[in-house]
Symmetry: C2
Subunit: 216 residues, 2 copies
């Protein structure tokens, strides 16, 4: 026996750093339901063109001009009879991380506390995304995907501070850990200058995240 098939969609929680806090990218909805309201980018799975859900998520990112080198991982699947007014629905949620300058045309809203009045269960999805990113950042180089192509160790340390909500992280210890992992490498001859000793610039060397033995 065949059962009625649920609606199948993907939704992307695109997180970035702005003004020292995590922000989520929201876009106005072009069609009902919730037409005009700002929500997570997403949409129907296109069974004729998407090879799978990952491909559907990448297509959504492409439509928003968020393309190359974006960190993307499946967050979880949200479902139920009541989350979408159109009927029983399944939404595969993804988390994307990228530096702010890569995002154009989106409304960047503070991710914590989660913005009020998001459509569907997008509030719960953003909350889950934040929890995932925070817990994973404790023992991985996930926050490097929030950095621009080149960054100093101090800047990376500050991003860890923001993501993890830690008031201070000792720079000497942080430097040792992050360099021992060999997940970033110095960019030859490039320094960040200022009214102080110039700092070495680094870039991420691994495509995926690297894991620490312990915690940051």
């Amino acid at each position: 026996m065949e059962y009625e098939r649920p609606i199948a969609t993907v939704d992307i929680v695109t997180l970035t750093l702005k003004d020292g806090a995590l922000h989520v990218a929201l876009y106005p909805r072009a069609k009902p339901p919730f037409e005009g309201a700002h929500g997570l980018p997403g949409g129907y799975v296109h069974v004729d063109e998407d090879a799978n859900l990952d491909a559907a998520a990448r297509r959504v990112l492409r439509d928003k001009a968020l393309l190359k080198g974006v960190y993307l991982e499946q967050l979880g699947t949200f479902s139920g009879a009541t989350r979408d007014p159109r009927g029983w629905s399944i939404s595969a949620a993804y988390v994307a991380l990228l530096p702010q300058e890569r995002i154009k045309g989106a409304l960047l809203a503070k991710a914590d506390p989660v913005p009020r009045k998001l459509p569907f269960d997008h509030g719960a999805i953003v909350k889950a995304a934040l929890a995932r990113v925070r817990s994973k950042s404790v023992y991985s180089t996930l926050p490097t995907f929030l950095m621009p192509a080149e960054f100093t160790i101090t800047e990376l340390r500050d991003v860890y501070r923001i993501v993890l909500g830690i008031e201070k992280i000792d720079l000497a210890g942080f430097r040792k850990k992050i360099l021992d992992l060999r997940a970033i490498e110095p960019v030859e001859g490039k320094m960040r200058t200022g009214v102080h000793r110039p700092a070495q610039l680094y870039r991420r060397v691994v495509k995926d995240i690297a894991l620490f033995d312990r915690t940051i």
Copy 2:
């Protein structure tokens, strides 16, 4: 515009311990496709009776008489045009853990290496489930859900050894860590006897898993 809706199913990777190794519960498929073959328990989402995917997963467990106190978590969602001969499909995969004596009527197959010739992409799903359970067991009390109601610390230590693939874990250090966490408590007056000093029996006290600061 509405797109054609994919098939929506749930699949459960039920892991247990047997003969000192992780095993996965397989059941013969009653209907096509792959009728008669052994595969993961699962089935269509019933939009008329399931409140959401978690409820669908619990219904599948209930149908297999695996009911109370089963640890269940969403593993991830597997999808695509080709994984199911019936068409573009989405399967929400779940991991369930329970002690062997709770499982009746299933074929228990060694989970590592993954059994050959499983239907659909069930091989990949089992592989992902194993990876999830192993990585999470490093820093949590997840393996306690593989234990019967009462167990000794030595028995729990051995389960960690099996799940993590570690040849030896010092019992004294393990005892300290697991007791400090207060995730298990002694069962008053109950001891496991043998041809040696009797051992205190313990039971799990937390409903969910508890997390270690570091690793086992």
